[in-house]
């Protein structure tokens, strides 16, 4: 009897916890309840202007990544201002989860979908499903494949290929015609941004300064510790004497590379090092002279324009695909203190 009672109590406890968790989620969720309220407010405030819109934002990151943490507040603030009622998902770069989130979004029949592809190669079915349901999709941060662009109504975000190009141009300027050997740290393997930046950097190096040779390359997975380990291994395999510099696909990883160089007593100031981001981590490195150049990426611009692009699509129904590229501003010691390129993440 006692055992049976214990089972019943256990089951009741489980039920109570699930119920309370679900109830708690609604109140704790920024993208849910807050935006509901925001939408109501917007509806009240903007009655003269017209509509509020239900919008799903299918993102691969959120508050679990530094970029996402600073992307979301301006995104949500702009959405509130424009009367967009957001439902935000985070697939954590799992393409299958994002595809499933997309199915859920299409079933919910929102006015629009904002998509930040986890893996650009895999989102065609999602775009087709949204298209078939008559739901406009805009892309943020990382564009879809060229052949899929016709299924989307707009793109806003960095030119990820162009960022690699800009970082390579910095490297070419630094090399100045000298024979230079560098190591390369790329982003998460298979990730679209990582691939675009790698291609942009490598193709520009090959075209504009073939005197720069990429001696070895490893993924750093957008992570400082992993890139430090990868850089350390490459220093061992290539040999300190052959390394004149490094390129990392973002500032978080370049900080790891610089630490790896320092750990081997290499004179970091004498090495040619470029990156992308101009983040809170990268900007001080530029000022200290350890990082020679980086490319500014504004997470607030990115988030804000994601909301503005879908709003424009929903209110104006433009005939052509909207494209808003984030300016690729090169940051060196000369302009690192300029307020216009103040780091955001």
């Amino acid at each position: 009897m006692k055992m049976r009672r214990a089972r019943v109590v256990g089951l009741m406890l489980a039920g109570a916890m699930v119920l309370s968790a679900c109830a708690g989620d609604d109140t704790a969720d920024d993208a849910g309840a807050t935006d509901d309220a925001a939408a109501d407010d917007a509806a009240d405030d903007g009655a003269a202007e017209g509509d509020t819109f239900e919008v799903y934002a299918l993102l691969p990151q959120g508050n679990d990544q530094p970029y996402g943490t600073t992307y979301l507040p301006p995104f949500e603030a702009t959405a509130e201002e424009l009367g967009l009622n957001l439902t935000i998902t985070n697939s954590q770069y799992d393409a299958d989860t994002q595809a499933s989130d997309c199915e859920v979004a299409v079933a919910a029949e929102p006015d629009g979908i904002i998509l930040w592809p986890a893996v650009a190669d895999t989102i065609r079915p999602c775009l087709e499903a949204a298209d078939a349901a008559g739901i406009p999709v805009t892309i943020t941060n990382s564009d879809v494949l060229e052949e899929d662009q016709a299924l989307t109504a707009g793109y806003s975000g960095p030119d990820t290929y162009g960022q690699g190009v800009a970082s390579a141009e910095l490297m070419c300027d630094l090399a100045g015609g000298e024979e230079v050997g560098i190591i390369m740290i790329n982003g998460l393997t298979g990730n679209t941004t990582a691939i675009d930046r790698e291609n942009g950097f490598e193709e520009t190096i090959n075209e504009q300064c073939s005197n720069v040779e990429i001696l070895a390359r490893q993924p750093g997975n957008w992570n400082k510790d992993e890139s430090q380990i990868a850089a350390s291994e490459m220093i061992t395999s290539v040999g300190i004497e052959n390394i004149d510099g490094a390129y990392a696909a973002d500032d978080t990883m370049v900080a790891g590379v610089i630490d790896a160089f320092k750990a081997r007593d290499m004179a970091v100031e004498d090495l040619l090092i470029t990156s992308i981001g101009n983040t809170f981590l990268g900007n001080p490195l530029v000022l200290s002279g350890e990082l020679d150049g980086t490319v500014f990426q504004s997470s607030s611009w990115d988030g804000e324009n994601a909301a503005r692009t879908i709003y424009e699509v929903l209110t104006e129904s433009p005939d052509e695909r909207l494209v808003a590229f984030m300016p690729d501003v090169k940051v060196t010691a000369d302009n690192a203190e300029d307020p216009a390129v103040a780091p955001e993440w």
Binding site: A6, R7, A14, M17, L19, C22, T122, R124
Partner: protein, 350 residues
């Protein structure tokens, strides 16, 4: 061991009632079931979802799609866990088989190679467990890393797009009513595995192998062959999930399956499958996966962030483990011993 425990439970149930043969038989049957907690959870989750997000049920094909996504790998995993073994390589098998499939231009040949690859992976896992004698946790952990690395090498560290992209897109479309091939394949897999572990002798022997391996040896059950069979089922089903994912996404992602391992274990455990083996069922795993699927879809529709979703799933998992009858017995036994010990240790008055 487990069988006898269930028998004891059922006998007690019968004695409690004392009369009514049919009722007693029903109680015996119910006492043998392990899905009670999963059913309770499903009822709670479904009720909450029905109230807060009825679209979970009106767009049932989406929920079923999520169920198939979570559940398919969990089904194969259940076959292994029933024997008291673990297969940590399921997610890597999924990613690897997808890359193998997409790397071959001929779609049919690619699918065949991927599924065959899954079987081979199962055989290798079982070989290390049965012949070499490595703990399945370690053996499949090694396989996890090996396959993940192999997927990256084979794919050139980039997603591999299907040559027959249109065929993949067509595969993702509904086939019967709103049901996509993924859902239909999942239903077939559930039926096939349920029949196997309940109606086929080899499948039923999984319980004996997991319940008491030595007794299974003594009873003449070919334990090694059963372990091979279990790992091959797990490998095959994981590869099947990889094939389906690759077809639906029209590309193979070498990083795929990031959330599969946790979700499939969660589905099995919530469904009442005992990690030590010998107890559990395919139906239980199905119910566990259904609970998770409804929960995830409802939370996603509510805009709940994935971090919070993970907290909820983690809590449910903990509750599922804590409310396991065996765990409860141990906890209650320890509590009784503690109270007895403290009362005995009290000094005699006067």
């Amino acid at each position: 061991m487990t069988e006898s425990r269930n028998d004891t439970d059922s006998t007690e149930a019968g004695l409690d009632l004392g009369s009514g043969a049919d009722l007693s038989r029903w109680r015996t049957v119910l006492a043998r079931r392990t899905e009670g907690r999963a059913v309770a959870l499903l009822v709670v989750v479904a009720t909450v979802a029905l109230v807060l997000e009825p679209i979970v049920f009106t767009s049932y094909e989406v929920t079923l799609g999520r169920l198939a996504l979570i559940g398919l790998v969990a089904l194969g995993l259940t076959a292994v866990i029933l024997m008291g073994e673990l297969d940590l390589a399921v997610a890597s098998t999924l990613a690897f088989s997808g890359v193998v499939m997409a790397s071959i231009d001929n779609l049919a040949l690619g699918i065949l190679a991927a599924l065959l690859g899954g079987l081979v992976i199962g055989v290798v896992n079982a070989f290390f467990v049965v012949v070499v004698g490595i703990n399945s946790f370690i053996a499949t952990l090694g396989m996890l890393f090996f396959l993940r690395g192999a997927a990256f090498v084979l794919s050139g560290e980039e997603p591999v797009r299907l040559v027959a992209r249109e065929a993949g897109i067509a595969f993702g479309r509904p086939l019967i009513g709103p049901l996509s091939p993924r859902i239909l394949i999942f239903v077939i897999a559930v039926i096939a595995l349920q029949v196997f572990v309940t109606r086929v002798r080899a499948g039923r022997e999984f319980y004996a192998v997991g319940g008491n391996r030595q007794a299974a040896y003594d009873a003449g059950i070919p334990v090694r062959r059963r372990v091979y069979t279990g790992f091959m089922i797990s490998g095959f089903v994981s590869a099947l999930a990889g094939v389906i994912n690759t077809l639906e996404r029209t590309a193979a992602d070498p990083t795929a399956g990031g959330s599969v391992l946790l979700a499939s274990f969660a589905a099995a455990i919530i469904g009442g499958v005992l990690l030590n083996g010998g107890r559990g069922s395919i139906v239980g795993t199905l119910i566990g996966a259904a609970s998770l699927a409804i929960l995830q879809v409802a939370l996603t529709l509510s805009g709940v962030q994935v971090d919070v979703q993970n907290i909820v799933i983690g809590l449910i998992l903990l509750i599922a483990v804590i409310t396991d009858p065996t765990t409860l017995r141990v906890v209650l036994g320890n509590a009784r011993a503690l109270f007895r010990g403290s009362s005995q240790a009290q000094p005699e008055p006067g």
